[in-house]
């Protein structure tokens, strides 16, 4: 089933970490397996925030020297950053397997990111000047608490509660997906993509990488491919309705935009609230009510509807 949510403040900042936590906790019944957040803080020109995991959550309980391997992987990440001329301004090990780096880097991040992901067990969850992507097993309150999201000042955010149906219960299959290697772009999705393998092979032939077998990752790669080729976010969302088969509603966030697209069957829900300074959307109204308890007007976008809002 899965639950998705998004919000964007126009021209102002707010505690989007807390707001998204409340929304996703209200959607817990739609997906109790894992929860993910893509929150956008104020852009830091010249700096990149890199969220990386060096193991799966379930690996920790398996023993067999996993902590030593994790330590080795972190050393390799640090070495690669240095090798590519990136200066580490700060490094936090949030959980045994999840790290947050703030780096300065003048060169191409794509090549550096690809080499980091060649380290066994390593996956960059996000990279960007404002984006921070956090995902882990458990409900929104648990993940938010573990990663300190209750106090996150930003302009917009998207999030996801996952009920695993077609791939494993693990972090690599959790949403949101970063649109690797396109900085500051993230995607959450509710639905099934039925031409996944056809589209995946097409994207792989064009040089894109996939880290999971989850069909939702395709939307992130597809969006990244379009944006890298000069297609606007709105046009990419429109194209997806005809080029991607299946039933889907998905949200895409960039450093200053939030977009949504609904497939031709409109089989996956989305409820939308729009005011002059705040836009909120979620799979169910109950999530919107979690942050806007007062009586408001909401509506369901129709089939093939595409919308993009600016922060």
């Amino acid at each position: 089933m899965c639950g998705i949510a998004g919000l964007i403040h126009r021209g102002k900042h707010s505690n989007v970490g807390f707001e998204m936590t409340a929304m996703l906790q209200a959607l817990k019944h739609r997906g109790p397996d894992s929860t993910g957040f893509a929150v956008y803080g104020p852009p830091n020109p010249g700096d990149y925030i890199m969220r990386v995991k060096v193991a799966e959550a379930e690996d920790i309980d398996k023993g067999h020297g996993i902590m030593d391997r994790i330590a080795d992987r972190i050393v390799k990440v640090d070495e690669l950053l240095e090798e590519h001329g990136a200066k580490i301004k700060s490094k936090e090990q949030i959980t045994p397997y999840a790290l947050r780096y703030v780096i300065t880097h003048d060169g191409e991040t794509e090549k550096m990111a690809k080499q980091i992901e060649e380290i066994d067990g390593a996956e960059i969850l996000s990279m960007g000047s404002g984006l921070e992507l956090i995902k882990d097993l458990g409900d929104a309150a648990e993940v938010s608490s573990a990663y300190g999201l209750d106090e996150f000042d930003g302009s917009h955010a998207i999030g996801h509660t996952r009920m695993a149906t077609e791939s494993d219960v693990d972090i690599r299959s959790a949403h949101p997906y970063w649109a690797f290697p396109y900085n500051d772009v993230s995607v959450v999705h509710n639905g099934q993509i039925t031409n996944y393998w056809i589209m995946r092979r097409e994207m792989e032939r064009k040089g894109h990488r996939f880290m999971s077998d989850c069909d939702s990752e395709l939307l992130a790669v597809y969006t990244a491919h379009n944006l890298a080729n000069g297609v606007t976010l709105e046009e990419s969302l429109r194209r997806s309705i005809s080029e991607i088969d299946g039933v889907f509603t998905y949200l895409v966030a960039t450093k200053d935009q939030l977009g949504m697209a609904k497939d031709t069957m409109a089989a996956k829900p989305l409820v939308l609230y729009e005011s002059d300074d705040l836009i909120v959307m979620a799979s169910e109204e109950v999530a919107i009510r979690a942050i806007l308890p007062e009586e408001i007007d909401t509506y369901d976008p129709y089939d093939e509807e595409v919308r993009v809002w600016q922060a």
Binding site: E284, V286, Y299, D300, Y302
Partner: protein, 289 residues
């Protein structure tokens, strides 16, 4: 049922009550429920276990801190106490509120509801001052539901009777599989509305999305605005004086009568090329012919 008290009926299991009420699994006629009302029951044409309520006995309940189950349980206990007018405050988009009410009741929701609001009802008059999520009024048998704002998809799915009204716009697949009753939409409706509709009437004062009435068996759809496209086996029919009178009466009843009247409404019915709902089954034909 004659000779059985309400208390005795309450003691019975659901299966025993169902058998007593004549619920069967008759495949051929397609009718699975009939109730033989007790002629001695002083014209009380209700379910025997339905509480007897007084419309003048009114109560307000604040449901902000309650779960859906707690709200529904509370409503049932209040009905048992004879309350006939319930005002539910702060529903906050909760799912499944007001489902399965089988007696007369004035039920007012002072706010918005989530999924499966007031489904499976048979009798109450419901007013929802906010909006509703997916599948509002699903399988309702009788009574009225009026939604003041917008509604989500599958509004009135499989509705069998009563009036289901949304003053705003609704999502996709409105009245999917409807088997009777009336659905009225003050605004627009989305794609595949009236999909596999079997009986009943649907009125859309605004525009209708693509594939309207796709694979409909029977029933009638009236659209006041534009129709994006018709579905398979849905065809336009002539709007008769009877249609105009019915539309005028129904839309006036719910204060949704357009200033321009009803002459501009387009009437859509089943072409009956795919299905003929009233065809007899082969075994029935053998018995009759």
């Amino acid at each position: 049922m004659a000779g059985m008290s309400d208390a005795e009926l309450r003691e019975m299991t659901q299966e025993e009550r169902a058998k007593l009420l004549g619920m069967t699994t008759e495949q051929l006629t397609g009718r699975s429920l009939f109730i033989e009302f007790d002629p001695d029951a002083e014209e009380r044409f209700t379910y025997p276990w339905a509480p007897d309520v007084d419309y003048n006995k009114r109560i307000e309940i604040d449901t902000d801190a309650m779960t859906s189950t707690e709200v529904n349980s509370k409503a049932r206990s209040l009905m048992e106490e004879g309350y006939g007018t319930l005002v539910v405050q702060n529903p906050r988009g909760k799912h499944g509120l007001g489902v399965g009410i089988l007696n007369r009741l004035n039920l007012i929701f002072d706010g918005s509801l989530g999924y499966f609001a007031v489904g499976l009802i048979d009798g109450p008059n419901v007013r929802i001052k906010g909006r509703v999520g997916w599948s509002c009024g699903e399988n309702m048998m009788s009574g009225t539901i009026v939604v003041e704002k917008n509604a989500g998809s599958t509004f009135g799915a499989a509705i069998r009777g009563g009036d289901l009204v949304c003053r705003g716009s609704v999502g996709s697949r409105t009245g999917i599989d409807m088997k009777g009753g009336t659905i009225i939409v003050g605004g627009d409706t989305g794609a595949l509305s009236g999909f596999m509709m079997q009986r009943g009437r649907m009125v859309v004062c605004g525009n209708a999305g693509k594939n309207l009435g796709d694979s409909m068996y029977d029933g009638t759809i009236y659209v006041g605005g534009k129709i994006q496209s018709l579905g398979v086996d849905a065809i336009e029919a002539e709007l008769t004086d009877l249609d105009r009178k019915w539309l005028t009466r129904k839309l006036s009843q719910y204060e949704l009568m357009p200033d321009a009247g009803v002459d501009h409404f387009t009437k859509i019915v089943a072409g009956k090329q795919l299905w003929n709902y009233d065809n007899l089954e082969p075994t029935e034909k053998k018995l009759i012919l």
